[in-house]
Symmetry: C2
Subunit: 480 residues, 2 copies
Amino acid sequence: MADNKKKVSAITSMDEDFAQWYTDIVKKAELIEYTSVKGCMVIRPYGYAIWENIQRILDGMFKATGHENVCMPMFIPESLLQKEKDHVEGFAPEVAWVTMGGNEKLEDRLCVRPTSETLFCEHYANIVHSYRDLPKLYNQWVSVVRWEKTTRPFLRSREFLWQEGHTIHATAEEAIEETEKMLNVYAQFCEESLAMPVIKGKKTESDKFAGAVSTYAIEALMHDGKALQAGTSHYFGDGFAKAFDIQYAGKDNKLTYPHQTSWGVTTRLIGAIIMTHGDDNGLVLPPAVAPIQVVIIPIAQHKEGVLEKANELKERLVKMGLRVKLDDSDNSPGWKFSEYEMKGIPVRVEIGPKDMESNQCVIATRHNGEKAFVSLDELEASVEAKLREVHDGLYAKALENREKRTYACKTIDEINNALTEKGDGFIKAMWCGDEACEDKVKEETGVGSRCIPLEQEHLSDTCVCCGKPAKYEVYWGKAY
Amino acid sequence: MADNKKKVSAITSMDEDFAQWYTDIVKKAELIEYTSVKGCMVIRPYGYAIWENIQRILDGMFKATGHENVCMPMFIPESLLQKEKDHVEGFAPEVAWVTMGGNEKLEDRLCVRPTSETLFCEHYANIVHSYRDLPKLYNQWVSVVRWEKTTRPFLRSREFLWQEGHTIHATAEEAIEETEKMLNVYAQFCEESLAMPVIKGKKTESDKFAGAVSTYAIEALMHDGKALQAGTSHYFGDGFAKAFDIQYAGKDNKLTYPHQTSWGVTTRLIGAIIMTHGDDNGLVLPPAVAPIQVVIIPIAQHKEGVLEKANELKERLVKMGLRVKLDDSDNSPGWKFSEYEMKGIPVRVEIGPKDMESNQCVIATRHNGEKAFVSLDELEASVEAKLREVHDGLYAKALENREKRTYACKTIDEINNALTEKGDGFIKAMWCGDEACEDKVKEETGVGSRCIPLEQEHLSDTCVCCGKPAKYEVYWGKAY
């Protein structure tokens, strides 16, 4: 039987075991494969194609905001890494060290970049001399290595792909504006391309990037109620410039330290897509980044004219600029339905002899399983509308999940009750700004501070922990 | 004075010191900057934009020939690298070793990939089981590390960017066809996009890739008469499959070893562009990969209407899909001319008040310094024609240089005479196939075998070295 060639086997249900469900999806949708390199993975064609779409869209947004791509070495000499004190303290414990080149022992060990601030600073010290050289708005698409103990595909791995923007500006104001601008670019991308609502906020002091004056982040809530940091944007002040002796001559010829930023998103976004939109039938992909946006499945394809018609529909959709696959393999339609549901393809078009008689086809949408008959004369407009419907539907569903799982709490008891009664989610609660309270909330409830949202709500006058006057509203959560 | 802000300083002339000329260009055209990481460089925005164009075009060609992108880990455990004997012997002496992860010593050292055959093989062993799983046509765009002793930007560096295609096929015939197909893709790309003629050929036994049954290469001749290997394509037979125990069940259910290939080009292509087309005024870029294809320079830009007109021309050219820069900075036109000549921009458009009166502009072509007046009504067609003219002119000039510097020789004396009298170049000479003769030619003339060209000429009946019956025509040369 054709159906036996390759089985689309069922996956663990989300409610039964969310972690196993996730692992099943990354494997069965053929996003990744494990390797003998511990904590590292192969990103397979289907997974990598999602990343390519993310790259293409984000890269366009970076270039539209004036950024240029560069490429730094993947190695950082230990002596260079050590130049900024906080930075090296944050990263040195989790880097991979190259100690041998060929058969020779290296005098200055090289770490495989965990992030590239130090290299960019060295470069800026070489090329920035005058106010005319500023700003430099650089980005690179590379992989980085952090020696994690426990790893999970896309979410936490020893090597991961990312982009890292690094910019340098004449003034603090400009650098802060850049930091916020890129946070907004990330938020816009998540909402418009990944159909994923995010909270924009600032990290607390204890949660800042090593070497930053302030760290901004976008936080998303996954289907299971856990938070995921989807992107970060850091403002460095002139700390790195001082450590690396970067100075520029102003219009008045006075030497001044410039101000810097860095910002990044990673292949973790693929993990976020899975856990935001996926369901018990597999992956569900937002149309903007889906490697295949429309799959066409011929019904009774041996019947005269069916494959020709299916090909004709494909041509029409490709002409619209869509990414389309026609599966005319000898697997059964039922097998194909399951396969492309597992792969999360947003829209499925079915066409068979009966449809042809009535000059129609069936369009099914992955996110809600709905099917509709559509006149072939209106194929283009219908598919376009359905793709928008999928995007909007995914966004609404994700937002609904977040809202359902966001609990405003005024005391630690309320936090614990909410988590126990309603399950994991975002806690919104006021905070006095004292690190001791932040730690105590974590200790007594299990949720850590995720961010101080840029849009502040006034929930009460007092800190959720100590009862003293509150300074900020904070989002708290368990995090990936 | 505006002109003093940034000097476009002259570079060493090619004839005086070709190596210094090259170094001057990579620095002054702002392609790279050195770093404290020995043998590694920063690829700056202008250099990286050339690579992005190379990537975009080649990636399109790979996808059009059915290939998919993936991403393998950057590390290879020593035990995995050792599985194929010839391969490990070829690469182990020149790899960088990670021996520490955080503060822990690793039990199995990891090398930073010098190439990824072993990782692809491990992956194929996991995912290839049946003839239905074949072929797999994979590629990745990554960087690799080889611990070179002497390095030069783009030509030989410890880390370089490349793509590596890795494919696996049911039969030897299919794999050989793939090897040749990708060699042809490379040759076509070099000729159509880089305006660089290449010789397609097979490497001799002594010059094969470590682990390959046969290695194909494209060889280009640089301006100074030295050869540069611009791309390679390897056929592996089933050697790797046997070493990694990759087997597939055929239609008859019999287990069989599949056949593999790999192929790659690197950022070295940027070095090839520089040394094929550059001149004493700087870089000269082929239009297909030039980050900026047309630069517009307003003359007397303070005069009424000039900048508006320049902007209007820019909009018209951008609408054609061209990459256009309008330089309206307060540098003088003379400074701008030198700057964009150094940067190798193929076409320059000048527009000033007098031109506007006559409804015309000046179009200058970088490769030959010619200028022409063109009616503004015919701007689009004229610029398009000029860009084609630059491409064709560059190709013709490079071909002419190669032909002028290719010497057919029948004896070792003839080789030495040709090199002494006419300078470095390709030597075409017959060879018996004996490695001893290959070595002796190298020893006595300084030129090594570059390839056995696929299009064989019959130059004589006897080997250039021993006088015994000849088997092949060989191209010989000094190589980068």
